[in-house]
Symmetry: C2
Subunit: 177 residues, 2 copies
DNA sequence: GAAATATGTCAACAACATTGACTTAAATGG
DNA sequence: CCATTTAAGTCAATGTTGTTGACATATTTC
């Protein structure tokens, strides 16, 4: 229905001379447009996977676990906790769901047998790929519309948004420099 | 502490010739780097305001309400629900907190007295500005590091990430065209 | 063999969302 | 004018995801 249509984002009048080139809409106050674009973009970015996850009885937390195990097969529980920045009790709940459902497998570490190394089963990989496919397609579409050549700019901006402790690990382009 | 340091993002080898110009790291599969950058960037983007909100006993939901009332003073409850895409029961809880705390004021609509028009009190404006200041500063920093001239590219990309029904309302640059 | 480490688990609780049902007040339309 | 619709508020139950705190178990390390 979407009846009441306020114009979202950018009904702020531009201050000063801001016409053609040089400084494209530099806000004096906070950049409300980008603040809101981030909010709406992220909501839709995770909203689509949410609907697929719901069909398995899973939620966003399961998505994140699937994603990072997929990306770093064989990582330990401690490493996963370090990435997600949640407590082990929070992780335990969703991890248990995923193991019981046959999406994740745990094997004792070879060197340190206290560790539980985490792997995706074929089933887990299929789901992880389905989810990544949705988000990847959305990104590809947006990138195509924006101009794929601008990808490094976008990656850099997002990396710079991250708290610096973490940012060090997220090189925009390891080949550059 | 951050002891276990996996290299997050982009440990995928580049496929094909991908050296200098033309197509900067175009992924064949899903673009894991941007997927993860969005996750980490958004987490830190909202994480900082969270800590200020916690000092008032508020959470993220209060932040969103404060933000959009600030941006659209006098909007109706229905309009706010339409923006946030949550149920009125969810909104009611946080709105009640904000009204009781003296951050938000409700006035009956002039034409339609069933409507409750929402306004920020000076106190509410102060908090909203504090929160927007944090996020704005983070964006300004990231934009500065990336090159402020690229702002339209970034805004465009984020806008394209949004589901198209909403995207129509989020013009990247209303002056253009 | 004692201490530290990796993991798991139980319990209580909080924030934020949902669905469903119902109320009140005001506007609207025959 | 009265019936219907609309805007908003409320009560209750429930689910997901996070938290703290306490404790158990197995294994490694010193």
């Amino acid at each position: 229905m979407r009846k009441s249509t306020l114009s979202l984002v950018d009904d702020r009048p531009m201050r000063g001379a801001n016409h053609s080139a040089s400084a494209p809409v530099p806000p004096d106050g906070p950049d409300f447009e980008l603040i809101e674009l981030l909010f709406f973009a992220y909501r839709d970015f995770v909203g689509e996977p949410d609907r697929l996850l719901a069909r398995h009885g899973f939620g966003r937390a399961h998505h994140r676990v699937l994603h990072f195990i997929n990306r770093h097969q064989g990582l330990t529980v401690a490493e996963l906790l370090d990435i997600l920045e949640i407590t082990k009790q929070s992780l335990a709940r969703v991890l248990k769901d995923l193991v019981r459902g046959g999406f994740v497998e745990q094997r004792a570490g070879a060197e340190d047998r206290r560790q539980r190394l985490l792997f995706l089963t074929p089933r887990g990989q299929a789901l992880a790929q389905g989810l990544a496919g949705m988000q990847g397609a959305r990104i590809a579409r947006a990138l195509g519309a924006t101009g794929a050549a601008h990808r490094p700019v976008i990656a850099r901006f997002l990396a710079e948004l991250i708290d610096s402790e973490r940012g060090a690990e997220v090189a925009t382009d390891p080949a550059a420099s």
